[in-house]
Amino acid sequence: MSETPFDEATGGLPSADGHNDLEFRDPEKARAIADTLERLGEELEDPPATIMHVCGSHEQSIAKFGIRSMLPDAVRLIMGPGCPVCITDMPEVDEAVALAEDGVTVATYGDMLKVPGTTRSLDDARAAGADVRIVYSAADVVEIAEEEDGEVVFFATGFETTAAPTAAVVLSEPPANLSILSAHKYVPPAMEIVAELPDTDIQGYLAAGNAAIITGSGIFEDLAERHELPVVVGGFEPLDILAGVTKLVEMIRDGEAGVENAYPRCVTREGNEPAQEQLWDVFEAVGGQWRGIAEIPGANLVLREEYAEYDARERFDIDADSLGADGASRLADDCICGDIMSGTAEPTDCEMFGKECTPDNPVGACMVSSEGTCKIWHEYGGRPNL
């Protein structure tokens, strides 16, 4: 079994003389790329170039490996709306909480439990006696429904990579007492909206390599063309990220728009076509709110009419407008998660960061999930690599 040497002095990168079989962490190559980035940065017409990535796993790698410390001043790397838990809107959580409090068994991914609704979370509902189950997989929900006599609702969250499994469950003719409360989101339209925000002013996107395994890199071509932006699909190893950022800076310097794939060992232009077919067979994209960001056209995935029998909103006639009206939310006043996810603020700009808002006692959604920027920054020392 191979061993991977970690060297604290290099921020976790294996030492150069170690028997490094993970060449995507090779510190010498990383430094060489950083030198290239420095040179490219000096050639930018209008520095700094702001690059946005849209994936919590990217942020984890960037924090863990000290990537920001390797970037020149002429390059800013920020995280956008890349945490599926964080962008689930409060009324969507309110819907799930209301169903749980009405006696329905609600199953969801573990990350969702502490995400605050307007006044309560699913964790609060569970503490008060509601039947809220944590599932690892959409497939687990089918087993719960088979075991239960009553209604079971899957509060289905996440981007394309979790929406495809949810679609597969719907297509597999699940038990009649199972329905889906879809809070699934579709990322490309959100990237378009954020690209248009004047305060964000980004010059390029590092797209999520894992989601692109399903969607393919080609999905970003329209976005790149419409907004005249470079988009580079990136993997998660330090060299993957540095290579992706370097390509982006080169394209920004050259005024070049388009899509490049810096994660070719996992991502193709076409992606996983069977999974895409299932996703779009079951779901359609409609306009909807992303927490703290905006109403985004075509970015919320809802069940198509053909599958209305499995749609919890049809089955339970949820009046979303009336939910959450029984108390004011301090999130609306004090939490800046929305600004963080749209790239106009950093966690350290928030007065509650690390004080009232911590991973043990999160106020905002970005502090709840391991993919949230606030939680990642908090776990890696508050202001990693800056």
Partner: protein, 125 residues
């Protein structure tokens, strides 16, 4: 729930496969995989669904990468995500690297891969 975890397919029954993750066997759905799989193949599992069959020439490198996560700092968030995904539905051995993962023969990944990537992207370092 972001990265997914690679594992070896042990058996296939319709759209369900039994997959070995560092000695932990779990059932994985095959509804969303991008290519047919059979015992001996490796897949990338994401929340209980195979989203990709890993090409043969990428298996060693992929496993080495994930082993580095599993063997890494116990407080590391990437490690937590990967181990959580392995543990869900089973238990991971205290030292996951001691688990029997067929096909792992200590062979290093292709050392030219990173350079190939940089060359492909036209990055001259």
């Amino acid at each position: 729930m972001c990265l997914g975890v690679p594992g070896e397919v042990k058996s296939v029954d319709g759209l369900r496969a039994t997959v070995d993750f560092w000695g932990v066997k779990k059932e994985v759905r095959l509804d969303t995989v991008d290519a047919p799989v059979e015992p001996g193949d490796y897949i990338l599992n994401h929340v209980g669904f195979a989203i990709r069959r890993i090409p043969d020439d990428e298996i060693d490198e992929t496993l080495a990468l994930y082993e580095s996560f599993v063997d890494g700092d116990p407080d590391d968030m990437l490690r937590e995500d990967v181990v959580d995904e392995i543990e869900a539905g089973g238990s991971v051995p205290a030292n996951a690297a001691d688990g029997a993962l067929a096909g792992d023969d200590d062979e290093p990944a292709d050392a030219d891969d990173a350079e190939d990537l940089l060359e492909e992207l036209g990055i001259d370092v």
